[in-house]
């Protein structure tokens, strides 16, 4: 199970660095890290999401020679938050990946900008930064659904069986629901 998570972090990180970051869409680049971490949190829970977020953030900061700890801090929060959302609400809507992806990206991009300002920025900052943030959120929202589907497919075989999922499967295969049994 840990190997799958580690492989997910490594592959997602590499794909983001060598591929996604070099394919601009309408002037904006997608960022896979918050989407993958959000997906892990929704699928595997808060702790798994937080650990995946820490690992993913550390991987990106090391590979891109960025300030260590910034991405980790933000992605820990995103992974934990997505996991708590699953544990408390267990949302199932078709638009869940899109909404959660947009929220995760917003937290990541805005949070990253805030932390950079807190750490001190030497160069003047243009208002176009806001445009870049919005563009990234929009692009990420568009790719959130396939990223979520792929992540869930990759992790589902190693996750413990979810009783809530088992009950839902019973209904879809034609088994008796508790209502009819009663």
């Amino acid at each position: 199970m840990i190997a799958r998570f580690a492989a997910l972090v490594a592959i997602a990180g590499l794909v983001e660095i060598v591929a996604v970051s070099q394919f601009p869409v309408f002037g904006a680049n997608a960022t896979l890290a918050p989407l993958v971490v959000m997906a892990v949190g929704l699928v595997a829970g808060a702790s798994a999401g937080a650990l995946t977020g820490f690992a993913m953030g550390l991987f990106l900061d090391l590979a891109l020679v960025q300030t260590l700890g910034v991405s980790s801090l933000l992605l820990v929060g995103i992974g934990h938050g997505a996991g708590r959302l699953r544990e408390l609400r267990n949302p199932q809507g078709a638009l869940l990946p899109l909404a959660a992806g947009a929220a995760a990206t917003t937290l990541f991009t805005v949070g990253y900008a805030v932390i950079q300002f807190l750490l001190g920025v030497d160069a003047p900052v243009s208002l176009l930064l806001l445009r870049d943030i919005v563009s990234t959120i929009v692009v990420n929202a568009l790719i959130a659904a396939p990223v979520f589907a792929l992540t869930r497919r990759w992790l589902t075989p190693v996750l413990p069986d979810d009783p809530r999922r088992r009950r839902r499967r019973a209904y879809t295969t034609g088994g008796l629901s508790p209502l009819s049994r009663a």
Partner: protein, 288 residues
Amino acid sequence: MYDKTVRRRRAVLGLLVACSVGLLTLYFGESVGGGLHSVQRGFLTIVSPIQEGASRALKPARDLFGWFGDTFDAKDERDRLRRDLQASRREAIANRAAAREADALRKLVGLNKQLALEEMDPVVTRVIGRSPTVWYSTINVDKGSSAGVRRGQPVVTGDGLIGKVTTVTRGASQVTLITDHTSGVSAKVTESGISGVVKPAVGDPSDLLLESIRRGDRIDKGQRVVTAGSRSSRLESLFPGGIPIGVVTEVDDTELDVNQRVHVRPFAQLRRLEFVQILRKPDTEPSA
């Protein structure tokens, strides 16, 4: 059981947040050669070959993706360059026109200095209309009686004489050119002093005729013709003396005629008049 799960979850979160903040603090506080920076460089050394291999493998996809983007960018750039080209063309045309105007005005200044025309109270005026006939015999200018213009006043350009004012309104005037069939200017050849009358050659606006020249008078090609000015106090000329009119191009010497006909090409570019100068002195209109 539930409490244990909650405590474990909170412990994991707290630990990870603490690690992240600790890493950030240590990294931000240390120098470029510090421990964490070294670890980062080491990680990059390991990962960079993998990055390079993946980047090479994805190059075709990247190029294809970039082609679409380049196509959109190229279209935008093409439209922008077209707009820039149109603006440059307009600017070039305006610059050429401005250069022509500046040249014409410079020639007027030069003529004023050469012939001391300042004493004749010249006023520069812009050509605002031309006669539609092929002879270009009249032009309209934008100065009139309010600017001191009177009928009969001579009109010159930087190249030489072009005509006289024949009609005046408050804000505009009409100038009859020396190529008009009604025009006649008392003139002389500068080299020999031989006098005559310059009249237009009917049908050819680029050819003037210096008439009333006796057959015995010697006139050669290339000699300059200027206004003769007043030669008698009883018959005052409208045109002051010395204003260039043109250059002799041909001398017709027919044996049966008493006089010879001298062809003169006018100096002034009568087809391309932008600015002309009206000599306002004397300030009296000639009798009709």
